[in-house]
Amino acid sequence: MKIGTYEIYSLTSAILFAIGLGGVFLAKHFLRKIIATIIMGAGVFLCFVSFAKRDALTFADPIPHALVITGIVVAVTAAAFALSLARRIHKLTGEDTFGNEK
């Protein structure tokens, strides 16, 4: 089995996704949960782009690149919204975790 750039990064993508997934569920602080969603996203995007690298002809497949740019912007918008919610909750109640509830 040949190990190249594609293989290394596609493996990394799965690991990042798992770290993010675990983080969203296990982390307590809002901010950390939000960071975790971005790490999850990074895993997914890495997966897309590693395929682009693998399937490259004269240039790398541009579709995944474009999808990833769109994806990053959308994910960051959602994360910024989550962050603003978290800050607002903190301002109103002083809480920075969901507490005992799941």
Binding site: T5, I15, F17, F59, L85
Partner: protein, 317 residues
């Protein structure tokens, strides 16, 4: 040699992701997050995705990181008033031994590892799909631009990009909704007292503007484009705001509305015009495609930059 660099980068990225989750202090997690973004940007470059690298560094790491840093101040501000809670955050780690029973933690951990193994196996066996490189390349001359990624973003899949520009506007509205819609705090200009900060900002403003314009214009032929340029222009707004020139709050309301909607609005009107003249939504006449795409990109960049500045101004009020 390549493999060595790649593996090192991959291991570093994974390590930093772990640190983000496990760093005992929240502030440290945010700084590690910056580093994580930079490593990821390097990984994109290694994978030949320079556009993605710029977008990652500018948007995911840069803009999001700044927001997080700022919110960090917010989150710790109240703690410093209350020593008890400061202690609590200092020792806050995600997998708190006292809050999760060990069986739960074990089950979750095992589940996660199982998921990871399955996903690795699935990824490992992804058959060669071939991608769309060939078709994208064949249609490139008709798309009006020379850079394939720009062609995908603004021509082949312009609809997605249009929705995405919409998403940014929606995000801005959503953040207003979450903040209880109190308008910006500072009504007037209050330039920073620190002369050094003022000088820095004054120097950086034209540089960022030119660099953004460069990315925008050359997005036609090489890496760069509306989103990357928008973040640089947005950075001008944010810097000015930090320096006390709260530009976004002093311009008239109507102007603000036009600034944040013009990208989406023009793109949409263009689409409707194309349909009215017998084409499909976002079907550019080939002769004008290049020019129209540049206009769309410029206006979109202005809108996104305005939205980013507005988000920052609103959150840091």
């Amino acid at each position: 040699m390549d493999i060595l660099i790649d593996s090192l980068l991959a291991i570093l990225t994974i390590y930093l992701a772990f640190r983000c989750m496990l760093a005992p202090k929240l502030s440290k997690a945010v700084f590690v997050f910056f580093a994580f973004g930079l490593m990821l940007a390097l990984a994109w470059i290694r994978l030949g995705a320079v556009d993605v690298a710029i977008a990652e560094a500018a948007i995911a790491s840069g803009f999001m990181g700044v927001l997080m840093l700022d919110s960090l101040r917010d989150f710790s501000l109240i703690f410093s008033k209350n020593q008890e809670r400061l202690e609590e955050t200092a020792s806050k780690i995600p997998i708190k031994k006292d809050s999760y029973h060990w069986t739960t933690a074990l089950a979750l951990g095992l589940g996660l590892i199982l998921f990871l193994l399955i996903s690795i196996q699935a990824i490992w066996e992804v058959p060669q799909g071939g991608g769309l490189t060939a078709i994208a390349e064949a249609n490139l001359p008709m798309s009006g631009v020379e850079h394939p990624v720009t062609a995908v973003l603004l021509n082949y899949r312009a609809y997605d990009t249009w929705l995405e520009i919409g998403v940014i506007l929606m995000g801005l509205l959503a953040i207003f909704a979450a903040g209880g819609l109190k308008q910006y705090r500072k009504p007037g200009l209050a330039p920073a007292q620190d002369p050094l900060l003022r000088k820095t900002i004054l120097i950086f403003t034209p540089v960022l503007f030119l660099f953004g314009a460069f990315l925008l214009y050359f997005g036609k032929m090489g890496p760069g484009g509306a989103f990357q340029a928008a973040v640089l222009w947005g950075a001008i707004g944010i810097l000015l705001h930090l320096g006390g020139w709260t530009v976004f709050t002093v311009i008239p309301r109507r102007m603000r509305q036009i600034l944040v909607t013009i990208g989406l609005g023009f793109f949409m009107i263009l689409g409707f015009t194309q349909m009215a003249t017998g084409g499909a939504f976002f079907e550019y006449p080939p002769a004008y495609a290049g020019f129209l795409i540049l206009v769309v990109e410029t206006l979109a960049a202005i809108s996104i930059a305005a939205a980013l500045t507005a988000i920052f101004a609103f959150l840091t009020k």
